[in-house]
């Protein structure tokens, strides 16, 4: 008698990544994790400097370097006041926001894919973003003065409602089955989309632009304190997820196997899902529905670094942060003075890359 079914319905084995199957990959040791993360952090720092110096109201790159250098020596600044204002009240908050959102979406993508044991899972497909979008659209169309933080507050509420719906509906006696959860998310997402379209079709045209930008994902709406809040949520979430990295490795092999190897699988799963959902909600509430990051970045890094989450989680956070900072810089500068929604950039990069992955999988 089979009491739980564990066959994935959408059986998409991961991409066959290796040309040479005997190519050795080192185990994730503390040293390797630190090394990889240090490299990624260096890339991230460089991208941040580029992002600061790029865009309207230019801060010259060399000036910026000189500024950092003189700051570290404790001497006079070389930036003029205008540059300083741009740096501290425009660029840095924006970079902090992009980095936090990118890291949050990547982290939750990693976690959802592992726990649902399905490489297609990500916060976007699961409907969490859809819930947030509905909240935000309602806020934009009828005003959001009645909740704290306004539109982001409503978006966060929407994401929470989506999460509760998804987990509430898919919960059964035997716990969450990955496929039920995924399908529930897809359906709820579709339902939210219908509600959003309904709301949009009733709205006046002057609000449509804001709605559209929100749905495409846009980082220009957030304020400084929101960036800080999302950043703190991401850091806290990362610490919780990272502390469960080893159980997460085992959960990929299935809940029963994880238990047989000594992990309290049900508890670990609950904490992981809740944490990933909440950092997603926080990120989406200020950024809109930025797609593909949660899907593509975990894939790419699993391909490069392997599936061990002790390495994959911090690497994904850093890489996701770097990627969104870069994408946002492109969105700000490509068609300047017009700003593109950053979701357009991530989708333009992400979709072809994912198609390439799918194509390579066709063996």
């Amino acid at each position: 008698m089979s009491i739980s079914s564990r066959r994935p319905l959408l059986r998409l084995p991961s991409v066959p990544v290796q040309v040479n199957p005997h190519n050795s990959r080192p185990l994730a040791t503390a040293g390797r994790i630190i090394l990889v993360c240090a490299c990624l952090a260096a890339v991230f720092a460089l991208l941040c400097l580029v992002s600061i110096s790029a865009g309207a109201g230019e801060i010259r790159f060399m000036n910026l370097l000189a500024h950092l250098f003189s700051m570290s020596l404790g001497t006079e600044t070389t930036l003029d006041p205008a540059e300083e204002t741009i740096l501290f009240s425009i660029r840095l908050p924006r970079i902090l926001l992009a980095a936090s959102v990118g890291a949050s979406l990547s982290l939750s993508g990693v976690v959802f894919q592992a726990i649902l044991r399905n490489p297609l899972a990500d916060p976007y497909i699961l409907g969490i973003s859809g819930g947030a979008a509905l909240g935000a659209v309602i806020g934009i169309l009828i005003g959001a003065g009645f909740v704290p933080l306004g539109i982001p507050g409503l978006a966060f509420l929407g994401a929470l409602v989506a999460i509760l719906l998804i987990f509430g509906v898919s919960e059964s006696k035997s716990g969450h089955s990955g496929n039920t959860l995924l399908l529930t998310g897809v359906i709820i997402n579709a339902f939210f989309s219908a509600l959003i379209m309904f709301a949009v079709s009733l709205s006046s045209s002057d609000r449509l632009h804001s709605v559209l930008f929100w749905l495409m994902g846009d980082l220009s709406m957030a304020e400084g304190n929101e960036a800080t809040l999302v950043g703190m949520a991401m850091l806290l979430g990362f610490l919780i997820l990272f502390s469960l990295a080893r159980p997460l490795n085992l959960l990929i092999l299935g809940e029963e196997t994880a238990m047989q190897l000594g992990v309290d699988a049900k508890r670990a799963k609950k904490i992981l899902l809740a944490t990933a959902s909440l950092i997603t909600a926080a990120a989406v509430s200020v950024s809109g529905t930025i797609g593909f990051i949660g899907l593509v970045i975990p894939h790419l890094l699993r391909l490069l670094l392997g599936a061990d989450h002790r390495l994959l989680l911090p690497a994904s956070a850093l890489f996701g942060a770097s990627f969104l900072v870069l994408a946002d810089t492109i969105a700000r500068t490509l068609m300047a003075p017009v700003e593109l929604p950053v979701g357009v950039v991530t989708a333009l990069c992400g979709a072809p890359y994912f198609l390439y992955l799918l194509h390579r999988r066709a063996f």
Partner: protein
């Protein structure tokens, strides 16, 4: 004293009785085969022994301690399970998967040390998968995959090894290799082995004892020669069988009886 005591356990699922009043003991170093028709409760019994399910009544004790009072981590230091091969979705390497067997011996933040790497290597040597170490799990054949799962279980350094249909997807060579490996682990290292299997002949050939389940109850338990008899097998499986002796060991061997072909010409 028995290392494992199954004491009058009953279990029902959705109002359906799966096991009732099952009791037996397993001594250290035993090699027990659990056989029985489909739906007789073999796999459920295995899950109860491993604490994945809780019995409605009765108790299961490991070295005298009821397992429901044990932490998962402590249980995993004593019992290791070789599951039926599950599909692998993410590209862990063989070495990483075997090393996961060390989990119960590690704290949350500790990385694997020299002792863990040694246990991993020993387990891989025993199962002859050292040359697969860097291969990815989704690139293995059924037989290789299975050996990796055994290696993982061995890296756990358990006292009891539980196996669920270990040979279901293996060809005859891998079946023999597999049971020979179990035999040597059992004989040379005193590992207690409990295997659920459909293959009565393999069980009869290798196990010290066989427990035959029927409709959630133990119909017979003992030496294969006492359990695998025409009378008992026919009664439990409800189909006529013939039994002879293995040419080498003299253990009983089962063959289904063919229905007489009807004589309307097509054989």
């Amino acid at each position: 004293m028995d290392i494992l005591q199954v004491d009058q356990i009953s279990f029902s699922y959705n109002g359906l009785t799966v096991l009732s009043d099952v009791r037996f003991g397993v001594e250290k170093g035993d090699f027990l085969g659990l056989i029985g028709p489909n739906g007789s409760g073999k796999t459920t019994l295995l899950k109860l022994i491993d604490g994945l399910l809780q019995p409605d009544r009765g108790s299961i004790r490991l070295n005298g301690t009821p397992i429901r009072k044990m932490k998962r981590n402590d249980l995993a230091k004593i019992i290791a399970v070789v599951p039926q091969a599950a599909p692998s979705i993410f590209p862990f390497t063989v070495r990483e998967v075997v090393l996961m067997g060390r989990t119960p011996h590690l704290g949350r933040w500790r990385f694997e040390g020299a002792a863990d790497l040694a246990a991993m290597e020993g387990a891989m040597k025993k199962t002859d998968i050292l040359d697969l170490a860097d291969r990815r799990m989704n690139r293995l054949s059924g037989g290789e995959f299975h050996r990796v799962l055994i290696a993982r279980a061995l890296a756990q350094e358990p006292h009891i090894l539980l196996l669920d249909e270990p040979t279901a997807y293996l060809d005859i060579r891998h079946q023999a290799d597999f049971f020979n490996l179990l035999q040597s682990l059992n004989g040379e290292q005193g590992l207690t082995v409990i295997a659920v299997t459909h293959d009565i002949n393999l069980a009869s050939l290798y196990c010290n004892r066989i427990a035959l389940l029927k409709e959630g109850q133990i119909e017979a338990i003992g030496h294969p020669g006492l359990v695998v008899t025409e009378e008992i097998i026919q009664a439990v499986y409800g189909t006529p069988v013939m039994i002879d002796c293995h040419p080498e060991t003299g253990r009983p061997r089962v063959t289904p009886k063919r229905k007489e072909p009807s004589d309307n010409g097509n054989r």
